[in-house]
């Protein structure tokens, strides 16, 4: 799962949102790293709806234009959770080993050659 996709799904965890709200929420959740352009967002939504991860839940008219809100489906929530677990495991692998590396590195530096 690519990072923008991950943050699009994560932005829907607290309930359905419409296009621009997803962009804002994804930017907020990622600390400003994921700045989705409109074209990118709708390409992602097309794919996610086709995969059954996201569904259209509300349609309203705002300023004479249609506004659609999208929500996370149970399979979408499962996929998001699986990805989060995978990333947490991958992170643990490195963070655990990094501490050991730094420790042995500093030990080597102080020991006589």
């Amino acid at each position: 799962m690519r990072e923008p996709t991950y943050f699009v799904l994560a932005s829907l965890l607290d309930g359905p949102l419409h296009g621009y709200a997803i962009i804002q929420r994804a930017a907020h959740l990622s600390g400003g790293r994921v700045r989705l352009a409109t074209g990118t967002l709708y390409t992602a939504l097309d794919r996610l709806t086709a995969d059954g991860y996201v569904e259209l839940v509300r349609e309203e008219t705002v300023n004479g234009r249609v506004r659609r809100s999208y929500g996370l489906t149970p399979p979408g929530a499962d996929a998001l959770r699986a990805e989060a677990t995978r990333m947490a495991e991958a992170a643990r692998l490195v963070t655990g080993r990094c501490r050991r590396l730094t420790a042995s590195g500093s030990a080597r530096k102080t020991s006589p050659a």
């Binding site: 296009g19 621009y20 074209g39 990118t40 390409t43 569904e55 259209l56 839940v57 506004r67």
Partner: protein, 222 residues
């Protein structure tokens, strides 16, 4: 309608009709919300994302056809340029050149010709995949493809038997006093016909909804 809205609408026209009918309204809404107040133009990022998104929506067949038509049109432009120049002396390379032609243009010509040839079969394959099960448009499109290739056969033959090559063969590459252009005028109508065929092919493709389009929507709560 504000200036920004008009320009966003114009950018959204890059998407195929079947997609716009479904999505253009909410995409316009999002674009306008995402643009900071006081802007008259959508940002470069937004425009680029729309261009890429529209190519994705149109699919591989359209993307490859655009490239194919583009390199073909560049080739037609090159042939037109050649018709106004004298041939290169004394060697004749595998693509026709004019006397004193910059090496950059010759290299670009080789590259374009190679790209056009390499794209020919992928364009046919992706196109036929797109038209899966559609009778008349598929037949019209395939016919235009064959006609376009058939048009290129005489051009290729004229080029190998061009006056410049003949003169080169007969006179041991001495073209002193030679006063004919590299290409004959017969090649220009062929190029025009090819471009027209390409335009027809793109139109047929643009009007076809790909098998994998915007999914069926069901509003679960209103």
């Amino acid at each position: 309608m504000t200036r920004l809205e008009r320009r966003c609408r114009w950018l959204l026209r890059a998407y195929p009709g079947w997609y716009r009918r479904e999505r253009a309204g909410e995409m316009l809404d999002t674009l306008l919300e995402a643009s900071p107040p006081g802007r008259n133009w959508p940002s470069f990022r937004e425009a680029r994302a729309l261009a890429i998104g529209s190519l994705r929506a149109r699919g591989w067949a359209f993307f490859l056809s655009i490239l194919w038509a583009g390199t073909g049109a560049a080739g037609a432009g090159y042939i037109f340029l050649l018709s106004t120049h004298l041939p290169a002396i004394p060697t004749y390379s595998r693509i026709p050149c004019w006397a004193g032609e910059p090496g950059v243009i010759i290299d670009a010509g080789y590259l374009g010709a190679a790209a056009w040839l390499a794209l020919t079969i992928p364009v046919l394959v992706t196109g036929l995949i797109r038209f899966n099960g559609l009778g008349t448009p598929a037949a019209a499109w395939g016919g235009a493809w064959i006609a376009g290739l058939a048009l290129m056969v005489p051009v290729a033959r004229w080029q190998t038997s061009a006056p410049a090559v003949q003169a080169c063969n007969n006179q041991g590459c001495s073209l002193a006093g030679y006063s004919h252009a590299v290409v004959s005028w017969g090649e220009l109508p062929v190029c025009a016909a090819w471009l027209a065929l390409e335009a027809v092919m793109m139109l047929i493709l643009a009007r076809t909804t790909p098998a994998r389009c915007v999914p069926q929507r069901t509003v679960t709560s209103t």
